[in-house]
Structures are given as structure tokens and as C-alpha cells.
Amino acid sequence: MKKTAFLGEKRGLDRIEALPIIIVYIVIVVVFMITAPATFLKYRIYQSFMSTVPVPLILGLGLTLVVAAGEIDLSFPSIIAFSGFIYAALYKITGQTWIPLIAALAGGAVAGFVNGLLVAVVGIPSIIATLGAQFLWSGLTVILSGGLAWNIRDIREETIHSLFVGRIGGVLPAQVLWATAIAVVLWFILNRHRFGEHILFIGDNAEVARVTGVNVRGTKIMLFTLMGALAGFAAVLLTLEMATFWTTQGGGMLLITMAAVFIGGTSIFGGEGTIVGTYVGSFIVGSLEAGIVATGLGGFWTRFIVGLVLILAVALHILLGRGRDLSEIRFLQFAFKKRSQGESS
């Protein structure tokens, strides 16, 4: 066998990350094209997805890293409210557009940093620490805002609005480009950077990470801080898009973000995570509601079908993932002929 063969580089379809879930997404879209052609054969619906999906998508990208490290974050919906409030309030008070952005990002990062301290230094399990933080930051936001919604209608006239949530060429929502750029950067961080490798090893086995010289505490603190900053950014996008802050603006984000991450194929057990999967998973979750309504089933069906897709997708990942890769599934083996011959022993 040649050296390159020993290196065992993946070939063919196997190279495509999260391929099964990409196929699932294509199937879903095709089904909706058939059941609701009036909606799904027009650009408008996709434009709408590209404006609404980025907020949960950015959250999901951060959460993917957190879950890959074997942790969880339940507090980001409250950061959506907290950082959104910081942005809206500072804009209203100062009339500035960029300083509030920095403050909102910093607010999210601080909230994340606190989570990191609670988890990595104090040693509180992340599910409890971030549950507490969820109440804390959303409570603080309600206190500070007086429980009111803050309208910032004038922001629509500002450069920052068109830069982050404008329609490029009148058709392409800018936020989808921002979310995609973040996805690309985080993909490289997770798969190609030291920080990402440390995350994977911590999620795989924190003791192994520790004895091999990984700074487990520091990495976790950085990870939660990053998650907080991403939530802060998502909060700004949402506040700009709606030109309003309201106290419950992160409500409902928790479950759909988690659903997107797990539909995408990131394992709750830690040690692995897929950015591409989360990207596609977020669009699946975002498309289902519109598709179901457009099909004529009625909004009552949405939750039921999201649940169904989540369960089926995770089942699919488990069936595919038990010590196998795609090439080990019988009905796909035609695509890997070269590889399986090369490796037969």
C-alpha cells in the first residue's frame, strides 16, 4: 500500500461533513416544493429564512462548541434579552450606534465569563450554573428595563442597520452573511485550531486532556465567554432587525437552538461536534414551521413535526455513528468501492 493510503485520507462522499443531514434538508425542501409549490418555488420564502434563521444559527454555532466540550449552556436566551437591552438602551440614551454594539458584545461576554467561572473554577455542573444564570440575567434585564419594550425605530435609518440586517441588493439579508462568516471561522477553530482540539479532548475525556497538558479550566472559561459574546452578537442582530427591544425576546430560542444542534449531529456525549451539521440543522428547524403552514396543515402541527424530525435525525446519527462511518453502511458502499478494497485485510 502506498503511503498516502496509509495516511487514510477520506475519499468520495465520506469527505463531506454532515452529509446525511444535508440530504435530509434537501428532502424536506423538495417535499415542501411539492406540497406547497406556491410558497416554496418562490424566492421570497428563502429570503425570509435567511433573515430569521441567523439568530438561532449563531447561537447554535456557539452551542455546538459548548456541547462538543461535554458542557451545556441554558443561559443564552437571557443574554439575548440582556445584550439586546444594553444595545437598545444605550442607543436611546446616547444616540450612538457602534458603542452600544461593543457594550452588548461585552455584556454577553461577561455573562459567559461568569458561566465559565462557575463551571470551571467553582465546579458547578454547567446545566445548573447556566440555569441559574438564565434566571439571573433575564431577571436583571426586566429590572433594568422596567419590564417594558423599548422602541428604537430610528435605528432603521442608520448605517449599522443596513450593514448587519439590511437587504443586500434589495434581496439578500445581510445577517445570513454574518452568520455564515461566523460559521466558517468557527469551523476552522473547531477542526483546525488548537483551541478546538482542546475542546474536543475535554469533551471526550477531561482527565485525558488534563494529563496531556491541556489547560482545562482556561479553555472552558474561554469557551463560555465566546458563547456569551456570540449570544450578545445574535441579540444585536435581533434587536436591529426588529428595531425594538422587548424583555422576552430570547424566549423560545433555547429549545429550537438545541434542536438544531442535535438534528445537525453533534453528540450530547461530547468529544465531537459538527459546525456544518448545526448550520443545516438550523435551517431545517427554521424551514419546518413555514413549510408546514404553507402546506396547509396549520400551525398546530409545527411542534409535533419538529419533534418528529429531531427524534428521527438523532436516531439516524446514532445508527450511522456507532463506530461506523458512511462507508460502512451497506446501501452506500457503492460510493466507497476504492476505499473498501484498499482497506480489506
Partner: protein, 259 residues
């Protein structure tokens, strides 16, 4: 390989307590530059505590340690420092990330990086291949540098960890119960990997409570019981049967029960 030091590692009157429990009660222990020392003792005798002090996982309560005849300052000694000082450990529980590919496991904690901390994957994979083929003579059907650790047998995992230690040019490789829960065939693999350590001029501390395994590879046997070193034999001084009998007598005599 000629070394300009007598002992790669030496411990003097080392003590370690965890709260009220004294795990080590004054350990005097040394390892020569190209010596394989078998460290033998029952579960809970203090072997793992010794290892964790050697490798910088934690510091002793008091006492001194010398690496290559130089005194260690425990305030500045940690896992990274131990690596830099060429002390490597293969832990009892695998020190590998199960779900990660082999190539990542070789370099975790000290990646070959490009600017900004990005990993040079091509380089790491090439080096990983070199370690597997050249350094440890790894032969596993269908195993490549991209294989996940979970695909390997127990003996192969220890081999990978030993290869990692040799690649980083360790002067001392510590094997902590490397043959626990392995089949006979797998044990032989690990013992062969251990012989490679000796052949390459390095030192090794081989920790085990399975005397028949240690006996095959060690030059000297140090026996520890309840935090104290109770005996020290050269291989030429004692046969496997005598060593076995000694251990049996020791544990029955002391603990009053044999298991």
C-alpha cells in the same frame, strides 16, 4: 546513547498526604539513566501517587525530587514542565481521547502549529505515521492515522501512548499499570513496546501489581506497601518464584488476608 547524569529521577524522603490520609510516608527512590525499574505494590500502596508527583499532576507535601540530578522546584513543576523535561507517562486508564483520530492523540497539548495557533494537520499526520511505523513498529490491520482510538485493542492503545512518549524524546517513560485488563497476547505487545524503550537508551518505570509481567522487562524491582518502600532487588538477585513468594508472604503477613 550516553547520558551525562546518573539518575534520571530520584526521590528523597518524599511525603504526600491527602487530608488525614498519608499516601506516601518518606519515599527514597531512584531510576538510572537506562534502567527499567519495576515498581510493584498492591492496590492503594501509593504507586499512582508517586507517578502523579513525578509527572507534575500534583506536588508532594514535603521531600525532594531530582530530575537528571537537578533538584525540582515544585512551585513551578506541572504536566507541561514535566513534558519539557522529557518525562512522559502512559497512564493506567488510557491517556488517549477515545473519539479522536490517532494523529490528534499524538500531539494533543503540544500541537505542530502554523501562525495563530492553527494546527499543521499534514505535518502532524506525517509525523504520526512515522511514529507508528518506525518508532514502535505498529502493525494493526486496517488502522491508519485517521482511525479513532476506540477502534484499537487495549495493547495497541498502550503502544500508541508509548510511541507518543518516545517521539517526544523522553528520557524517562512511566508506564502506570499498562497491562491491566489485557489478554495475554495484548500483554506481550505491551512488553515488546517496553523493550523498545530500553533498547533506545531511555529509562522506564514500569508500575504493576502483576509480577510475572514486570519480571519479564525490568532490571530492578522496588516494592512499595502502604506508602513505604519495603524492598529493592536486582533482577540477578531474585527469581520470579522468589519474588512471587516474597510478595505473597508480604501481603498475607501484613494485611492478614490474601486475595
Amino acid at each position: 546513547m550516553s547520558k551525562n547524569y546518573k539518575h534520571v529521577l530520584r526521590m528523597e524522603k518524599l511525603r504526600k498526604s491527602f487530608g488525614k490520609v498519608e499516601a506516601l510516608r518518606g519515599i527514597d527512590f531512584q531510576v538510572g539513566a537506562n534502567e527499567v525499574v519495576g515498581l510493584i505494590g498492591d492496590n492503594g500502596a501509593g504507586k499512582s501517587t508517586m507517578v502523579k508527583i513525578m509527572t507534575g499532576v500534583f506536588a508532594p507535601t514535603n521531600g525532594a525530587m531530582y530530575i537528571r540530578d537537578e533538584k525540582v522546584d515544585f512551585r513551578h513543576y506541572n504536566v507541561r514542565k514535566a513534558h519539557r523535561w522529557k518525562i512522559e507517562t502512559v497512564f493506567q486508564e488510557s491517556s488517549l481521547g477515545e473519539k479522536q483520530p490517532l494523529w490528534r492523540n499524538f500531539f494533543i497539548g503540544r500541537q505542530v502549529t502554523k501562525p495563530l495557533g492553527f494546527i499543521n494537520i499534514r505535518k502532524e499526520k506525517q509525523l504520526a505515521q512515522h511514529i507508528m511505523l518506525e518508532l514502535i513498529g505498529f502493525r494493526g490491520a486496517g488502522i491508519t492515522v485517521d482511525s479513532r482510538v476506540s477502534k484499537l485493542s487495549g495493547g495497541e492503545r498502550q503502544g500508541i501512548a508509548i510511541g507518543r512518549a518516545m517521539y517526544f524524546d523522553a528520557d524517562l517513560i512511566i508506564l502506570d499499570e499498562p497491562t491491566v485488563a489485557l489478554s495475554l497476547k495484548e500483554v506481550q505487545k505491551v512488553l515488546n513496546f517496553t523493550r523498545k524503550i530500553k533498547e533506545s537508551g531511555r529509562a522506564c518505570v514500569y508500575i504493576s501489581h502483576t509480577i510475572s509481567h514486570v519480571y519479564q522487562v525490568a532490571d530492578r524491582f522496588v516494592i512499595i506497601d502502604r506508602g513505604t518502600i519495603v524492598a529493592d532487588f536486582l533482577k540477578s538477585e531474585i527469581s520470579l518464584e522468589q519474588l512471587d513468594a516474597f510478595m505473597l508472604k508480604y501481603s498475607t503477613g501484613k494485611a492478614g488476608s490474601s486475595t
